[in-house]
């Protein structure tokens, strides 16, 4: 089913990670913080004027949100040139649709979902199909549950090399990376991801789990290499 670039309304105001792996420290503020988020007066003013066709006000909205939208695109595609194109497309979409924003959710939430939909449409054009997501449900022989057996001494310690983890995320297959970024980095719930990707909630959970397992393998390999130096 093709997805509309129109952002869906947030499913709830919940911002808590929906799985059992809760952060020990406070998570970063989440984009899907819903209507409870306090609107920035400068944004409210610029938004009203931009909706009335004020070009300078639209430029102001760009300034307020460019960093977050560009960073989101960059995380999701892992490529600077593509992230720039997607950021441009997201703001073009915003320009076309800004008049339809009714304030049912925070503007930043709405824009964030709009940008995610732009990225998803692009990834679909490039061949990230639901078939590939569904295929990932079936574990490949090397991905079976038994693969973590052995070498208990190689467990990760509390401190993870952030750059190593970022590299490992960038190396994930697109489907895994997408769900990992949406859930673990951007803070979306499995039901929201399932709706965005048009897959089952179980599929979303399974893909996230496999993504984390792949990251664990990559980080363990990295630790082993570091230890040998």
């Amino acid at each position: 089913m093709p997805h509309s670039p129109m952002p869906a309304q947030p499913s709830s105001t919940s911002v808590v990670n929906g799985d059992g792996l809760q952060p020990k420290s406070s998570p970063a503020p989440r984009p899907n913080s819903g209507p409870a988020a306090t609107p920035d007066p400068a944004e409210t003013d610029a938004l009203a004027r931009a909706q009335a066709g004020d070009h300078h006000a639209f430029a102001q909205l760009y300034s307020l949100h460019k960093r977050r939208i560009y960073s989101l695109c960059l995380r999701m595609v892992g490529n600077i040139a593509e992230a720039e194109d997607l950021t441009q497309e997201a703001f073009l979409q915003l320009h076309r649709k800004i008049g339809t924003f009714r304030g049912d959710s925070a503007f930043s939430t709405w824009l964030h979902r709009l940008a995610i939909n732009v990225v998803l449409m692009q990834l679909r054009k490039k061949g990230l199909s639901l078939i590939s997501l569904d295929e990932a449900m079936e574990p490949a022989p090397e991905e079976g549950p038994g693969r973590s057996f052995g070498a208990p001494d190689l467990t990760l310690t509390g401190a993870i090399d952030r750059l190593a983890l970022e590299r490992a995320v960038a190396d994930l297959p697109a489907g895994y990376r997408l769900i990992f970024i949406l859930h673990d980095v951007e803070g979306y719930e499995h039901n929201e991801i399932a709706a965005m990707l048009d897959c089952s909630i179980g599929n979303s959970k399974s893909q996230l789990h496999k993504a984390r397992l792949k990251l664990r393998d990559a980080l363990r390999a990295h630790s082993t290499q570091e230890a040998q130096l």
């Binding site: 792996l21 560009y70 703001f91 973590s148 509390g158 970022e166 979303s204 959970k205 789990h209 664990r216």
Partner: protein, 87 residues
Amino acid sequence: MNDKRKTLSCAEFQQQLPELIGSGANMANDPHIASCELCRALLADLETIAEAARQLFPAVEPPDDLWSQIESAIQSEDQPAKPTRAN
């Protein structure tokens, strides 16, 4: 249920792990986790990765010239299409 979980092999337990984690179950009290060092280590690693993810990818600024590109694209969209000349 707990007794049944305790008798699971690691392979069976890990097959159920995505759903257990995704459902928000309290894994600390799971009988298999309590008795299996390997699966306990696996779960600890996954927790570490999930926690670290929240600190990943600090926000970065787009290039300065991106706005001018967006502005041009908006202007071209706003311009009315030129009427085609009928011969």
